[in-house]
């Protein structure tokens, strides 16, 4: 890429059509990527507005968690917590006695969902990536069609199904339907990844007398591991970020509630103790947020792998 950039730069010097900046910027960037000062200013201003929109609720949430209730419920509005303190972070453990359990439940449910999805998806993705059989395309289409329906649409029969399976008010009432709606896109993602593993490897193993299952286990699985990691992370995030409706409808026992539902009960009260609610939210999502910063590369990979044409 840098070679291309250099050649075009040479071309640009010869070309009279290009107006070069009057003063020289000491930059090693290719000319095409250089910005005039007002362009850079515009970009940063745009980014500031954009990031403010994205982060405003978190900024406000954090500032609220520092404000004492008296300041919170006072007019006129003050953005900055002038006499802020971390009191709410201590008192919240009394106001929401099960907070620790909610945080654990959220994590636990998402982890089990991830394990279930990976176990189900790896063989299925391999089957779609490697074997031609009648109806393969139709079946894959059928799986993807699941994405059209949300849990909310199928809530009534799912509720009846969970009731007749005796799963209501257990962890499974949230895990089983949660995993179902994450399976189709995971199959699609991992299939895309597995198609790129050379077929010759399977065939070589086959010629050497390895059984099909052995080939999958010893040849394909190690090679597909990066793809499986991406799928696992995407599934975890999906399960973690979207746990609401099943937990709201299929479980009423506080000891199984994930964080959003546990706090929603708190939110529904007549007088919401906002600073503690915000503090609890922050503490609840902090562990996952820290992990995400390290894993963001995989998230981008996961989101965009499906983007590239089949």
């Amino acid at each position: 890429m840098s070679d291309v950039a250099r050649t075009t730069e040479v071309a640009a010097v010869d070309s009279p059509a290009i107006v070069r900046p009057k003063f020289k910027l000491r930059s090693t960037k290719p000319m095409i990527d250089r910005y005039r000062w007002y362009e850079a200013l515009g970009l940063y201003a745009g980014l500031a507005v954009f990031l403010f929109f994205v982060l405003a609720p978190f900024i406000e949430g954090f500032l609220v968690s520092l404000k004492p209730l008296a300041l919170l419920f006072s007019t006129p509005y003050s953005f900055w917590p002038s006499n802020g303190s971390f009191d709410a972070y201590i008192r919240m453990w009394d106001s929401v006695p099960l907070l620790g359990l909610y945080i654990f439940n959220s994590f636990f449910i998402s982890s089990i969902v991830t394990i279930v999805v990976v176990i189900v998806v790896v063989p299925a993705a391999y089957a779609f990536a490697r074997f031609q059989f009648n109806g393969a395309g139709l079946m894959l289409g059928g799986f993807l069609a699941v994405n059209m329906f949300s849990g909310a649409v199928l809530l009534i029969p799912l509720f009846r199904l969970m009731r007749s399976l005796g799963l209501l008010n257990t962890y499974w009432a949230m895990i089983v339907p949660g995993a179902a709606f994450l399976i189709p896109s995971s199959i699609w993602l991992l299939r895309t990844y597995m198609i790129r593993i050379p077929k010759e490897l399977d065939e070589a193993a086959w010629v050497d007398g390895a059984s099909r299952l052995y080939t999958l286990r010893r040849v394909i699985l190690p090679l597909a591991m990066p793809g499986i990691v991406v799928v696992a992370i995407m599934t975890f995030i999906g399960a973690y970020a979207q746990q609401f409706i099943f937990a709201l409808t299929f479980n009423s026992k506080s000891e199984f509630m994930p964080l959003p539902i546990g706090l929603f009960a708190f939110f529904g009260k007549q007088e919401v103790i906002w600073n503690e609610l915000m503090a609890a939210s922050f503490v609840g999502v902090l562990p996952v947020m820290v992990v995400i910063v390290f894993l963001q590369r995989y998230l981008v990979a996961g989101l965009t792998a499906g983007a590239i044409k089949q």
Binding site: A5, S15, I18, K29, L43, L47, F50, L51, L55, A56, P57, F58, G61, V64, F73, T75, Y77, F79, V120, P123, A124, A127, F131, F133, A145, M148, F149, S150, A152, V153, L155, I156, P157, L161, A180, F181, D202, W206, Y240, A241, Q242, Q243, F244, T249, P260, I261, L263, F264, F267, W274, L277, M278, S281, G284, V288, Q296, L299, V300, L303, I308
Partner: protein
Amino acid sequence: MTSSRSAVMFALALLAPALIYILIIVAYPLVDTFILSFTNASLRPDYDFVGWANYLRIFTAGNFTEVIIRTFIWTMLSVGMKMVIGMCGAVLLNAAIPGQTLFRILIMPPWVVPMAIGIFMWGWMYNGQFGMISGLLQNFGVIDRPVAWLAYGDTAFWATIVTDVWIGVPMVTIYFLAAMQSIPRDLHEAAWTDGAGRFYRFRRITLPLMIPAVLTMSLLSLIATFNSFDIIWILTQGGPSGSTTTMIIDTYKTAMGSRKYGEGAARAVVICIFVSIFCIVYFRAVRKLSQGEAK
């Protein structure tokens, strides 16, 4: 190797767990919804078939048509805003300026934090007396007295849209950014050599090549937004006086609030029909587009 009988059996064995799982947890409930929509099922264990009565009732009595129209407006506004803001975000994050990596990480929180938690924070921001939006707008003199955004029909309608856009934007932005980066750099460089400015290059190179990504993302967010439940349920529960009741909220209220499973199922079937129409239209559009490219 791949076409032999044993290979097919092996493939089907590999597929079996996923297939059985989806058949039980998604396909069966889907069929059950269709069946239930023709019954008067409720909390009682036994129910009778009532033919088209549920469908007749929802379309003649009550305000179902109004709910459908509202859902469409809500969805279109939200998806449109997500696409525009996502595109602007992708352009900004694609610029080669210092801090790029940090900015790309900073847009992720709404996507990875539990949706409900983000919505709680919006709930406070919309508070009229003490919330940030009303407060800051008053400080800047845009409004002269507190506005409780969730207390009035039209402001609540817009407030739920804004929150939905906020949740959807990071994903759209990252997706668009990736699509933008996959555009061959040569094209930009060739145009640049010929003296094309940034804006011209964006309009004539970036935008046309982004059409497939925009189409894919519009369908994905159309489905997600049409089925959006958490935001409205947490912020307004469909109120005030029904002004944010979309089809999903309406279905949930009928089924889980009033325990009218049969009628709720009929409403759910209508949602399924609409979503299927979206998908058919989408695939038609994609086919037409790729034919146009081949010519």
